[in-house]
Symmetry: C2
Subunit: 327 residues, 2 copies
């Protein structure tokens, strides 16, 4: 992997990032100490602010210069945080970003309600845009995301999950929010339908690549890099592309063996290592990487209708970064 | 209590109610079977559709005649249902409307996500109004409601809850949604600021009366009437007006005794009966009833700026009904 890409992006976005952080703090307002504590625990634990940055630069790429892009970009970080809070309750997962998840420290009840509050906060800021088109985008995002989560939950543990089902889940769970952030930036700028569509598709492909890379990391990264144990998806019964593709191409004997490991939530590290070998052997790792790279290419090609600019370059870098990041 | 008021209202609204039911079904669409099952369990278990009816008749009172009031009224039932679902998880309560609560039948995870889905559905329908003012109202509702719930949760078990804190909680938890339904109806109709304000205040007072009557019922109704055990609020550590007012007026000796019962979640039926006597003795019951009646009066006076009409009469009846209903 290329190194320095993350550093390069961070340097370029540093001034915006500082403003985004300030806006996230300000829009949280100390209404209720408890909300502040729980929300801050998640919001200020080193997130990358990818979604706000995408919204900001989509807006600027379309010539937006009215000065509210930072304020409105917080919508997408709050939506993201709200989903993570509810996810943590839903998944009963133990670690996120290497820190205790919120509801181990606070009750599930408080975490659910804080998630609701952040969603409401996002909506309140969205209402300030006074643009019904942006509200429509956000309504679609929230609907798709909750459907994606429900879908994933219903399909948990299904060893015969098809690629199309996987793609549908990651689109709803991850891509629609990134897509919506980009699209909203364009709408805010009063961009043409062609530009809105291009940024919508840029966001879709970047989001798909981002999630596939994330799903790869669960098999290829170390516990330290991940901030949580690798193999977590499998342990939770979530089948992702590396596994689905490998299963489809494995010998009958290996299929049976792989499914026996997958069906056992207490599989040991040795079994996990052996399973990883199969994912390389049957091309699941390579296929996932290639598919993610294709999405990055498509994302970048969506930017071609725009004149070269700082924001266009940055969006290009972020698309590259989506599959090259370490967590 | 006057009898027949409920019957009178039901007869008058029957044709609308039928359409509301159909719209609630239709807008739920069979996207995901699981959502449908969980949401239907709650949505179609005999709710009164109070909030949709208030929105519909607020719109008509302001001369709305474009024909979308039924469709848009479902927003407020979905918001209500979403809150109830999350509440049930938060409260870990056992019975609602005499039926098993959803998350005893389904996992808390699925119930949380279905709540999120209904909220998203409400937002999606709201976006179709293309009216940023309505989105602003809904953003305020969702924010206030989640804050009210968090506030109530944080203050659970506090035996020194003040009247103002109680009023603030019930305003956020109950009144803002009813208020928002009425206000949105007026906005949809393109009403004057004076009319919008009048219906906003009508909704506020009706909502406050409604919740106070509900809090009274927890002490005055039978288990059969309630569909759940009386004294549930107290058992959950929620202090409501009858108790707060009585405590403030009780003798020191009775205060100490009352607090000892309140602090014990396993109080027995005899103790509960004795406590109820104190609520009558120290006027908590009477004071709450009077305060609720005052709100009803104020609600009805807000309608005076409108010419007499079928919708105005109905809103008047609903205000009366808010404190006369049995569950």
């Amino acid at each position: 992997m290329k190194t320095g890409l993350k550093q390069k992006i961070i340097e370029q976005v540093a001034p915006d990032l500082e403003k985004v952080e300030a806006a996230l703090e300000k829009n949280l307002e100390p209404n209720l100490e408890l909300v502040r504590q729980i929300a801050s625990h998640l919001l200020f634990s080193g997130g990358k602010r990818l979604r706000p940055l995408l919204m900001i630069h989509s807006a600027r790429l379309c010539g937006y210069a009215k000065g509210f892009e930072i304020e409105f970009s917080t919508i997408f970080e709050y939506l993201h945080a709200a989903t993570l809070l509810h996810d943590d309750v839903v998944d009963e997962s133990d670690l996120r970003r290497g820190r205790k998840v919120a509801h181990r420290k606070w009750s599930a009840a408080k975490v659910v309600l804080t998630g609701d509050f952040l969603l409401a906060r996002a909506l309140d800021i969205a209402a300030k845009t006074q643009l019904p088109e942006i509200i429509t985008v956000i309504a679609k995002i929230t609907q798709d995301m909750s459907q994606g989560e429900i879908d994933q939950l219903s399909k948990k543990g299904r060893l015969d999950l098809r690629v199309e089902e996987y793609l549908d889940i990651i689109e709803k769970k991850t891509a629609v929010l990134i897509q919506g952030a980009c699209k909203s930036g364009a709408i805010l700028a009063g961009a043409s339908q062609e530009q809105i569509q291009a940024l919508d598709q840029y966001g879709f492909h970047t989001g798909m690549a981002f999630q596939m890379a994330d799903d790869l990391l669960d098999y290829t990264a170390s516990a330290q890099e991940l901030g949580k144990n690798p193999g977590a998806d499998m342990r939770e019964g979530k089948l992702t592309l590396p596994l689905i593709h490998s299963l489809a191409n494995a010998s009958s004997k290996d299929q049976i063996w792989m499914k026996s490991v997958m069906a056992d939530p207490d599989f040991n590290p040795d079994q996990f290592e052996k399973l990883k070998e199969k994912l390389f052997l049957y091309n699941g790792i390579e296929f996932t990487r290639k598919t993610a790279e294709d999405h990055v290419k498509k994302a970048k090609s969506c930017l071609e209708i725009f004149d070269d600019s700082y924001s266009r370059q940055l969006l290009g870098l972020i698309a590259d970064y989506s599959i090259e990041r370490k967590v």
